[in-house]
């Protein structure tokens, strides 16, 4: 049954699939999960979730998306919509497990954390994200991976907007230094001259 459904829906666009899903076609929604499951799980892992935890939250996010599929009108991409749902669910889980407060405390230590010096090695995004403190990583991933605005991230994290902005800025500076060393060096030079 499932196989027939997949081949029938494989050629359709996400918006068409979501319309089918809104009419109760679970196979159409299954195709959406197949297409975007990895991206959603990836964002959660980059936010700091362990693989099993990321899978759990991603599953819940897709189930929530199915329940609310009528709200998706194709204004953004389906993946971005589910990523936002997943990011919020993950934060709620952190709050429930009282881990969000611990992250805020950890943020104070981020400044003194030694930076890894593997600049010669080829560094991918995941490697670069590891150089960030937990809160910086969370903020950067929420804003650039899950597509939340700074205000939305601040609300979801229950942090002042200014705090989120400075976490994002610090995180971006670190990422820039690792992902684009030459421009990072220029920025550093500019900062020291200025």
């Amino acid at each position: 049954m499932a196989g027939a459904g997949h081949s029938r829906f494989a050629s359709l666009h996400d918006v068409e699939l979501s319309s089918h899903a809104a009419m109760g076609e679970r196979a159409a929604f299954g195709e959406l999960v197949r297409r975007h499951g990895s991206a959603v799980r990836g964002v959660l892992r980059r936010m700091g979730a362990a693989p099993a935890e990321a899978d759990d939250v991603a599953q819940d996010a897709f189930l929530t998306a199915f329940e609310r599929i009528a709200e998706f009108r194709g204004e953004g991409t389906f993946a971005a919509w589910v990523k936002k749902i997943a990011a919020r669910l993950y934060l709620r889980r952190l709050q429930r497990e009282k881990k969000l407060g611990a992250l805020a405390v950890e943020a104070a230590d981020d400044e003194t954390r030694p930076q890894r010096s593997d600049a010669d090695a080829s560094i991918d995004l995941d490697g670069a994200l590891k150089a960030l403190g937990a809160t910086e990583r969370l903020c950067v991933t929420m804003c650039f991976g899950a597509g939340l605005s700074h205000t939305e991230a601040a609300e979801a994290l229950n942090l002042p907007l200014g705090t989120v902005k400075s976490h994002v800025k610090r995180g971006l500076d670190k990422l820039r230094a690792r992902l684009a060393p030459e421009s990072g060096a220029v920025a550093e030079e500019r900062r020291s001259n200025g």
């Binding site: 197949r34 499951g37 991206a39 964002v43 991976g145 971006l172 421009s183």
Partner: protein, 125 residues
């Protein structure tokens, strides 16, 4: 400008996340949970229907519906006998004054009306 470029590049890097090896298995797990949710919902709706049916049937029994139907039948018989009597006489005033049959007819009509109304109300409920 360079900052904006870098931010766009970062968004692209986030969007180009690698396809995980167990993507198919993950999708199947989500579909299984969706199916389980729908099965549970179907059972819930079915159970609610059965419970509602049982409650409705018991309410009909308690409200003596059958007795009411019998009463309505009696009323109808009463009305038809009243009409027979009326049709056998030509003078309406004398009918009314003779035995108060008009009062009985009106009462019977009211009972029939009540029967209809009650049936309708029960049907609506």
């Amino acid at each position: 400008m360079a900052e904006v470029d870098f931010e766009r590049r970062l968004e692209r890097l986030f969007a180009e996340g690698p396809e995980l090896a167990d993507a198919g298995a993950f999708a199947e797990r989500v579909e299984r949970r969706l199916d389980a949710g729908w099965t549970a919902r179907r059972w819930l709706i079915g159970a609610a229907g059965v419970v509602g049916g049982v409650i409705g049937a018991s309410q009909l029994m308690v409200s003596n519906l059958f007795q009411r139907v019998e009463t309505a039948g009696d009323s109808a018989r009463l009305i038809s006998s009243g009409f027979n009597r009326i049709s056998s006489q030509t003078d309406w005033l004398s009918v009314a004054s003779a035995g108060g049959v008009g009062v009985w007819v009106a009462a019977a009509a009211a009972v029939v009306m009540m029967g209809f109304v009650l049936t309708r109300v029960i049907g609506e409920i």
